[in-house]
């Protein structure tokens, strides 16, 4: 049974009269990798900062299980992060969006310095530093100044500084921002390694496709509201009952192919996207649609280059969720403009 270590209840945060977080409720369990996804400005960083007590909410609370009780799974004692910040800080490590270390200190000096701020003994500190340097593949760079490290190494150093005191919970805010795919992979591998050691990881990112395979559970934020929370599959199931038919043909007259007249088939199609190089059809009944498509292909003498039926990725679901509201808003405005033109204003 999962043991919650963070409980967020009715959390609201306002900045300059704008609601950044609106009635957020969630629980984070011990040992999981919990992802928070959302577009830029959705409130991910604010949520993380509020989780660790940096920001005080206008409403709601964030509670955490204290360190000495984390081993007792049946214990229900939670404490507010806003009333016990120092206790929380002892069990969390945080790596923010921008790597946070001293440029003119060396790798080792950075790790040792931040370790000293946790009150670690000299021996523990040395031991942890050595372990982390190995874990983060920073061997050979201990005595290099942080500003002379590459982007990936800086990110790893940042994580090492966050892990120096062996926290129970690691919070990562966009850990792979500005990194190339190879480095991103490397970071995710490290995240898994750290998680395997028993550290709960809470991370925010908008690389949704990567989180899909990494996170135990995901929360989707949109304009400060929690749209969904669950495992990646649960979310996919919830937001998209459709499957996607990806069709690539030659010569590729997709407009003709997409022109389906059969009403029975049409009602099973949620959406058709002509991507130019392929056709994507969203449907809950792919077999019926495929049947119709084959007929169309034969009729128009199209040859199949590629055909696959997939479930939508998190990215796609997210885009769908985000853009659906925008489309409604834009349509309404277009209607009003048309009315005005008719009335001759």
């Amino acid at each position: 049974m999962a043991t919650p270590i963070f409980k967020v209840t009715k959390l609201s945060k306002v900045f300059d009269r704008r609601i950044i977080l609106d009635d957020i409720e969630l629980e984070i369990n011990a040992g999981e990798i919990f992802g928070i996804i959302g577009a830029s400005g959705s409130g991910k960083t604010t949520l993380l900062n509020t989780l660790v007590g940096f920001l005080k909410p206008e409403a709601g609370d964030v509670q955490f299980r204290t360190e000495h009780l984390l081993e007792h799974k049946d214990s229900h004692i939670f404490r507010s992060v806003f009333k016990h910040p120092d206790e929380l800080k002892r069990i969390i490590g945080m790596a923010s969006q921008t790597p946070s270390f001293y440029n003119t200190l060396t790798v080792k000096e950075n790790i040792l310095y931040f370790g000293a701020l946790y009150g670690l003994s000299k021996d523990t500190l040395k031991s942890n530093a050595t372990t982390l340097i190995n874990l983060m593949d920073l061997q050979g760079s201990e005595n290099r100044k942080a500003q002379n490290l590459s982007g990936g190494m800086q990110r790893r150093l940042d994580m090492a500084c966050a892990l120096v005191h062996d926290p129970k919970i690691l919070i990562l805010d966009e850990p792979t921002a500005d990194l190339d795919p190879l480095l991103r992979n490397h970071i995710w591998r490290l995240v898994r390694k750290i998680n395997k050691r028993g550290t709960t990881i809470i991370l925010a990112s908008h690389h949704l496709s990567e989180l899909e395979n990494l996170c135990s559970r995901i929360a989707i934020l949109k304009e400060g509201k929690m749209l969904a929370i669950g495992t990646p599959n649960e979310i996919k199931e919830r937001f998209s009952k459709h499957e996607e038919i990806h069709l690539e043909t030659f010569p590729g007259n997709y407009s003709l192919i997409a022109d389906i007249k059969d009403k029975d088939v049409l009602k099973e199609i949620a959406k058709i996207e002509d991507k130019g190089t392929k056709l994507v059809i969203y449907t809950s009944k792919p077999e019926i649609v495929l049947n119709e498509l084959m007929k169309k292909l034969e009729a128009h003498k199209e040859t199949i280059v590629d055909l696959k039926v997939t479930k939508p990725t998190l990215d796609e679901i997210f885009i769908m969720i985000t853009e659906s509201d925008k489309d409604v808003e834009e349509e309404k405005e277009e209607e009003t403009d048309a009315k005005k033109k008719k009335q001759g204003r």
Binding site: F15, R18, I19, L55, A59, R90, T98, F101, T104, G119
Partner: protein, 667 residues
């Protein structure tokens, strides 16, 4: 300990930042040395003096010689005053002196020397005027002194002469008195003389002389009878024959003696008779003389009477002369008395009745000794302000700033570490400066060591805390540096170091008394130059300590605000001024914007589109009306409820707001 770890980290970062190293650490040292060398000059500033002689009189030349004798003055002659004034405007000349025409000392003549100076050089002009005019005044004083001295000499001589004359007069009067007395005496003696005729009875004298003769003859007779009887005795004795040898010798001797005596009697009688004869002759002579004497007495009597009359006349003249002498003496004494009423008889006292003496209250003679306390505090102030603010800005602008918040280290620990870092560096710099000053500039602040060290610690603490306030207040290195320099400059300006405070308004002067720079530098001056003790300076220390406490509290508060600002990106001012109200009272729009009152509602209505408006107001609902009713704004709710379109609602709300009573007037 965390504090030491953080302090060590700060020092490491500073050492590895070359720009900071140079600007903060070496910059002030270089400035200090330059300033020290500049001020370490016992001679006064070099002054360029322009002069317009008009006429080259002896007096003008004398004055010019005096000015030229001063090595700090450089004299340039101009023919025209306007030209010289132009040179002042260009900064080539400090002062112009215009000597009058026919410059000389004459009776009933006033000589005026005119100075032209640039008053805009407020921190220098009085020094210039003082230097030059003191020389001019000195020469003028010397001339006055000379003339006054001459005058006083004449007066003194006159007084002395008068005194001598008075003495002579007194002697003269005494002589007159003496003469008068003697004349009286003579007159008295003359009057007492008995010049009446004398009568002498020579007849009786002759008779007596005969009587004497008779008596002498009788004596002779009787004497001889006595002698004969004696001789008869001896014969009788011998005749008796009962005598021994001795008795016989004695009888013989007696007889001899009698014989001698008898002879003597006869001789004496003879002599006496001769004398009597002489006496008779004398008596006769005396009679003649007495007659002549009486004749003379008559003549003397006449002469005495005449002398008496003349003596009286002389006495009258003498009395009159005495009176004149008295009057003359009185007049001379009066003159001397008036001269004596002159209280000031020294030429120097007349020329310069009030002498001002500037006595230094310390034994220091070097310019640098006097300004050294001010320079030290200046260095401390600027280094502390800039260093502490730089350390904080380095931290705030560093990528690692965020991570410090994630650690269970109290803000207080970070604050103390910044303080210790700055303090440590400033102390090191100060020690270095003092060593340099001691060896190269021969100056020290080691008098009154204990209290001096305490003050230095207080000063560094205070300015470090002020620098920390600046560091926490601002968000960029440039702003913090500018603020540090500005604050330091304000402290400097509101002190006596740049411009005399007396030239500023009373308000500024009052404020400057509480200027921390002024307080610290004045206190350091008291301790190092005057050797003030604890009881004299305890109040000053208490005031500075109070400043430190206040500054520390401000550091704590502003650091808190700065941290919130960093995390929430909300400026400190807005944090203080504007607090977010409870969300429930707001109207939450779909865009996330919150509306708190009718003015904000109006503002949002104007911004939103008609389409968005329909999200809130339809034929079936009016969310704005509902919200206003919830918030008990019933009047406005009614008005808003009547509106069918967005435009209508805007007009209605505008009307409502304009008709709302002025809350100030209500009061």
């Amino acid at each position: 300990m965390k504090v030491f770890k953080i302090t060590a980290k700060n020092l490491k970062l500073l050492m590895r930042s070359k720009t900071s190293m140079f600007v903060i650490i070496f910059g002030p040292l270089i400035i200090m040395l330059l300033v020290g060398f500049a001020f370490n000059n016992p001679t006064a500033s070099k002054l360029t003096i322009g002069y317009i002689p008009r006429e080259n009189t002896n007096l003008t030349q004398d004055f010019l010689k005096v000015l030229q004798s001063n090595p700090s003055f450089s004299l340039i002659e101009y023919q025209d005053a306007d030209l010289c004034k132009g040179m002042i405007e260009q900064g080539k000349v400090h002062i112009c002196i215009v000597f009058p025409e026919n410059f000389s000392i004459e009776n009933n003549k006033t000589n005026e020397i005119v100075f032209f100076v640039d008053q805009s050089r407020a921190n220098f002009v009085y020094s210039i005027i003082d230097s030059v005019s003191s020389k001019i005044s000195f020469t003028s004083s010397q001339l006055s002194y000379q003339m006054t001295n001459d005058l006083l000499s004449v007066i003194t001589y006159t007084q002395k002469s008068n005194n001598d004359e008075i003495i002579k007069l007194i002697a003269l009067k005494n002589s007159a008195n003496d003469i008068s007395t003697k004349l009286k005496d003579v007159q008295a003696k003359l009057g007492a003389l008995d010049l009446n005729q004398v009568s002498v009875n020579t007849g009786d004298m002759s008779n007596w002389a005969e009587n004497i003769r008779t008596d002498v003859n009788n004596l002779q007779s009787q004497g001889i009878v006595a002698a004969n009887r004696g001789t008869q005795l001896t014969v009788d004795l011998d005749a008796l024959g009962h005598l021994d040898a001795n008795e016989t010798a004695a009888t013989n001797s007696f007889a001899t003696d009698i014989a001698i005596d008898k002879s003597n009697i006869n001789n004496a009688t003879t002599k006496a008779t001769g004398d009597i004869d002489l006496l008779n002759e004398v008596i006769d002579t005396v009679a003649v003389d007495v007659a002549a004497l009486n004749d003379k007495l008559d003549k003397a009597k006449l002469a005495a009477n005449d002398s008496g009359v003349q003596i009286s006349a002389v006495q009258n003249n003498l009395n009159s002369m005495k009176a004149d002498l008295d009057a003359l003496k009185a007049s001379i004494e009066k003159t001397n008395t008036q001269i004596g009423t002159l209280k000031v008889t020294s030429a120097e006292s007349i020329v310069s009745p009030i002498k001002t003496t500037i006595t230094p209250i310390t034994t220091k003679v070097n310019n640098l000794n006097f300004v050294f306390p001010y320079l030290i505090i200046l260095i401390i102030a600027f280094i502390s302000l800039m260093l502490s603010s730089t350390i904080i800005m380095m931290e705030k602008t560093s990528k690692a700033y965020f991570r410090n918040f994630t650690t269970p280290t109290k803000d207080f620990t970070f604050i103390i570490s910044v303080f210790f870092t700055s303090f440590f560096i400033v102390i090191l710099q100060l020690i270095f400066i003092l060593i340099l000053a001691y060896y190269f500039l021969n100056t020290t602040i080691l008098a009154n060591v204990g209290l001096t060290i305490l003050l230095v610690v207080f000063a560094i603490t205070l300015f470090t805390l002020i620098g920390m306030i600046i560091g926490y207040l601002f968000n960029s290195q440039e702003a913090a540096t500018m603020a540090s320099i500005s604050v330091g400059s304000v402290f400097l300006f509101l002190s006596n170091l740049i411009l005399p405070l007396e030239t500023m308004s009373q308000v500024i002067q009052n404020v400057s008394r509480f200027n921390p720079y002024v307080m610290c530098s004045e206190l350091l001056k008291k301790l190092t130059l005057f050797g003030s003790q604890w009881n004299e300076v305890s109040l000053d220390f208490a005031l500075i300590a109070a400043y430190i406490v206040v500054a520390f509290v401000l550091v704590l508060l502003i650091e808190k605000g700065s941290k919130i600002q960093y995390i929430s990106k909300k400026p400190i001012v807005k944090q203080i001024i504007k607090k977010d109200d409870i969300v429930d009272k707001y109207f939450k729009m779909k865009s996330g914007v919150l509306i708190r009152d009718e003015k904000e509602l109006l503002s949002e209505l104007k911004k939103m589109s008609d389409v968005s408006y329909q999200d809130y107001v339809t034929t079936k609902k009016n969310d704005f009306e509902s919200w206003l009713l919830l918030n008990k704004s019933n009047d406005l709710a009614k008005i808003v409820g009547k509106a069918r379109t967005r435009k209508e609602m805007i007009e209605l709300i505008e009307k409502y707001i304009s008709q709302a009573p002025d809350p100030l007037k209500k009061k």
